[in-house]
Symmetry: C2
Subunit: 223 residues, 2 copies
């Protein structure tokens, strides 16, 4: 049997890179991690993802797969241990729905908050809390994870939201994870973010805050 060659091109501060690291880690797949440079994209990145020129890229036996959610689907199809997606097509659609919800709603919110001026902060935080309130409805209060007893596609697609919300709270002195607003979601974030398998993949919190604080100071602008 030919040994798989698995390489992940990523950047340490990216939640999309984190998703792929988590998927590979849960599956127990060994891989080479290659840190790219967002300001000076590598020839390898341009070769493997010429359309978007973005990480993460998973290179499996020389073939590139891009876009974090698609990479997670691919990883789940190739490596069968610890299934990430359920068999049931309706449940599968539900997982995909919430993963996309985060990308459609929370990602633009983060991008906006990283450029925000002080007078816009409270309004943006209020909108973010509303998104989180909607996201809360994806949880089943009777199960530790969306996949039941095991971390699933949906868990690793959305868990980073809690970590990056904590980062924004620290950077901007706003409240996003309000226990009055999203008690269940906050509890779930705390629980999952404290699991060893997750913690091992998270970027160091202080380094993340410092990185995005610097970004915010350089990009703060009215819009």
């Amino acid at each position: 049997m030919v040994r798989d060659k698995v390489k992940l091109l990523g950047i340490w501060q990216s939640p999309f890179t984190l998703r792929v690291k988590l998927a590979l880690s849960l599956k127990g797949v060994e891989y080479e991690y290659v840190e790219d440079d967002i300001l000076n994209k590598s020839p390898m990145l341009l070769q493997y993802n010429p359309v978007y020129k973005k990480v993460p890229v998973l290179v499996h036996n020389g073939k590139p797969i891009v876009e974090s959610l698609m990479i997670m689907e691919y990883v789940d199809e190739i490596w069968k241990d610890h299934p990430l997606l359920p068999e049931d097509p309706f449940e599968k659609a539900r997982y995909r729905f919430w993963a996309k919800f985060v990308d459609d709603k929370f990602v633009p919110m983060i991008i906006r908050m990283l450029r925000i001026t002080p007078d816009q902060k409270e309004n943006a935080a209020k909108e973010a809390r509303e998104i989180l309130k909607t996201l809360e409805s994806c949880l089943n209060p009777n199960k530790p994870f969306n996949g039941g007893q095991n971390l699933s596609f949906m868990d690793i697609a959305i868990v980073w939201v809690g970590y990056y919300a904590q980062m924004l709270e620290k950077m901007l002195h706003v409240i996003l994870l309000d226990d009055e607003n999203t008690p269940l979601l906050n509890m779930w974030f705390r629980y999952v973010l404290d699991l060893q398998v997750i913690k091992e993949c998270l970027p160091p919190f202080d380094k993340l805050v410092a990185h995005y604080t610097d970004f915010h100071e350089r990009h703060m602008t009215a819009h």
Copy 2:
């Protein structure tokens, strides 16, 4: 065996509704089609898609599935005849990539062109031709369809682009499908759009042009 109850909530002018109609039609699934009203959304739509409040929604035995690409995945998982997605995980990822490419790149372009002022037309058309040029690289010149001999997920995810590009050309008197720029893609659009199974699902061309011409006249605005 309980007979499946399949209902599709859609709007006739939507390419996303078209995708689902094509998927169900290729699978030979009988369904009830319910036309929604974009200006006065039905209680059924708000019940079944409370987060996005958008069509298409597939209601299968009472359970709603939303987002056209996710519905297509669901349809392919439930009804096994005429597989839409390939078995091979890498090919599958490639199909999903190009379907998402169209949503990421061509959809915002259409939305922009539907509100465009005459002086912005040529620039927008040039950008659209660049997007189409990139899209052309998804085709295999040696196969009639992306799935080989059968219409696939990728074909039905992207074929509407050709039809709506023809509509924009007619409405705005611009050239999008330039045979110098995208000879293969244009030929492929002409071929696939002329297939009976596709034609039966397409909204009538003149009606579509009239509808979006009216929309354009009401929404034309600088931006």
